[in-house]
Each structure stands twice: as structure tokens, then as C-alpha cells.
């Protein structure tokens, strides 16, 4: 679940094209470096962000990524919220199964991204959209 206090002003990146997915990666990388995540944790978070940003574009029909630094008293972290107003996910269990895909990919996006972050929260409603919140904490 999502704990911790937001710090500072979130940076928002629109996701409407391939190039925007690249921009999300760069924004997440810069923020992860700023809160001093380890190199492996930076790499994991940026990879997860890349998967989720691509999902937002391909399945959600585009949306936004909001990146903010958070703190829970002991440690700092990076939180990203991916939101789209797309069709939503009808069967979440299926969507989290390794290898399941409706988009012609490898089906590792959602399940893989969840493994790469510390906190993962998903809200989705058919016909309304999907919002995924992920957080990676410093150690």
C-alpha cells in the first residue's frame, strides 16, 4: 500500500507517443538519482516505469505519469502515478499473469513491473480507466 508523505511539487509528463515513454524514463531516472536510490534500484524503477508508461500508451490510449519524491520519516523514495482514461482492465488476475497479453507483447509488463518496485497499487474500472501507483524506497 502507499504510505509516506509527498515532498515537493510533482512533475507530470503526458504520455501520448513513443517519445513520451522515453521522456518518462528520463524524468524517473533524474528523480531517482536525486533521492539517492542505489544504481540497481534506479535501474529497476526506470525499467518498471518504462513498462507501465508503454501500457498507459498502448492499452490506456495515452495518459499521464506523475513523479514525486516521498518520505516516511526513515527513508526517501520515488512515487509514480500512471493514469489513463482508457477502457480499464476487466480481469485483473489475468492481467497479472506472466505471459498473458492482449497487445502482442511478452505479457511481462504488469507482473514484471510489480516485481521491480516496493509498493504497487492499482485502481481500474471498465469504461473509466486505470491508475497505477508505484513506489521505490531508498535502503
Amino acid at each position: 500500500m502507499t504510505a509516506g508523505v509527498d515532498l515537493g511539487v510533482p512533475a507530470t509528463q503526458a504520455i501520448r507517443s513513443d517519445e513520451d515513454v522515453v521522456r518518462v524514463r528520463q524524468l524517473v531516472r533524474t528523480t531517482a538519482v536525486a533521492v539517492k536510490l542505489s544504481l540497481v534500484d534506479q535501474t529497476k524503477l526506470v525499467t518498471a516505469a518504462s513498462e507501465l508508461a508503454r501500457n498507459t500508451l498502448i492499452y490506456g490510449g495515452g495518459g499521464t505519469a506523475e513523479v514525486v519524491t516521498v518520505e516516511d520519516g526513515r527513508r526517501r523514495g520515488v512515487r509514480i502515478v500512471f493514469a489513463d482514461g482508457g477502457p480499464g482492465i476487466p480481469d485483473l488476475d489475468q492481467a497479472f499473469t506472466d505471459g498473458f497479453t492482449t497487445g502482442g507483447g511478452l505479457g511481462l509488463g504488469l507482473s514484471g513491473a510489480r516485481r521491480l518496485v516496493d509498493d504497487f497499487d492499482i485502481w481500474t474500472a471498465v469504461g473509466e480507466g486505470t491508475r497505477i501507483t508505484v513506489t521505490k524506497w531508498s535502503r
Binding site: D18, E19, V21, V22, R25, Q26, R29, L39, V40, Q42, T43, K44, V46, T47, S50, E51, R54, D98, G105, L106, L108, G109, S111, G112, R115, L116
Partner: protein, 136 residues
């Protein structure tokens, strides 16, 4: 859209990915490489990912696809220069990079390709010898 350059060194095509590729750039590279393999008749492809700070499922799939395409076109693909953090992340993501040969750096990649080509020649020699013996 940016394009990734492909260099020809002897019998090998060398691709050093220096940009954060968009998905379109990755697909373009796949097509460009297939064309260059056929145009040059090269038997080896080295993809240097030293500069890549992440490999996500899309780029991972692109690497597997390039390896399969070049195999069909009689060329061997070796991916070199993967960073340790990228390797750790790939495994956790669940990507196995099936069918991809890897080496630590370009030099070792070239050795690997040279070795596998000479193995093939050796096998061809053995076949020929066998035929000669059979007919004599």
C-alpha cells in the same frame, strides 16, 4: 526519430546503441540490420549495449527478434556490454533473452563469432572427407 548507426568491420556488423531508444527506433534498427546483413553478406552481428541504462521487455524482445532474423539470414548475433544492474533487473522482470548469445565486451564477442564460424568450417571439412572416403 533517431536512427541507430550500423558499422561494418570485416565480416561483422557492429551496432553500438548510444541513445535511449523509442520503440519505433528499435523496430527501425531491426529492419535496417536485416537489410544490411543481406546487402553485405556478413556472418556476424554484435550489438553493444554498454550505454543502455535499462533493457525493458520491448528492447529485450527486439534483441531476441534480431537474433532470430540474423540466424535465418546465416549470421550469428552476440549481445555485448550488459551492465550488472541491467542483468539483475532483467532477471527480476522475468525476461530470459531466449536464443541470445552474450559476451562481456566487443572483443570477446568477435572471438565468439570467429570461433563459431570456424566450428562450422571444421564440420564442413569432415563432411567432405567422409564423402571422399565413401567414393574412393
Amino acid at each position: 526519430m533517431e536512427r541507430v548507426p550500423i558499422l561494418k568491420i570485416g565480416d561483422i556488423l557492429l551496432v553500438s546503441i548510444q541513445v535511449d531508444m523509442s520503440d519505433q527506433t528499435a523496430i527501425q534498427l531491426q529492419e535496417d540490420l536485416a537489410e544490411r546483413i543481406v546487402a553485405t553478406g556478413c556472418h556476424g552481428v554484435i550489438i553493444d549495449i554498454t550505454a543502455l541504462d535499462i533493457v525493458d521487455s520491448f528492447v529485450g524482445r527486439m534483441l531476441s527478434t534480431i537474433a532470430s532474423i540474423s540466424k535465418v539470414l546465416d549470421a550469428e548475433t552476440v549481445v555485448v556490454g550488459m551492465r550488472p544492474a541491467v542483468a539483475i533487473t532483467l532477471v527480476e522482470l522475468g525476461l530470459s533473452l531466449n536464443g541470445i548469445r552474450t559476451a562481456l565486451n566487443v572483443e570477446r564477442g568477435m572471438e565468439l563469432i570467429a570461433a563459431s564460424r570456424s566450428d562450422e568450417w571444421d564440420e564442413a571439412d569432415v563432411d567432405e572427407d567422409a564423402e571422399t572416403t565413401a567414393t574412393s
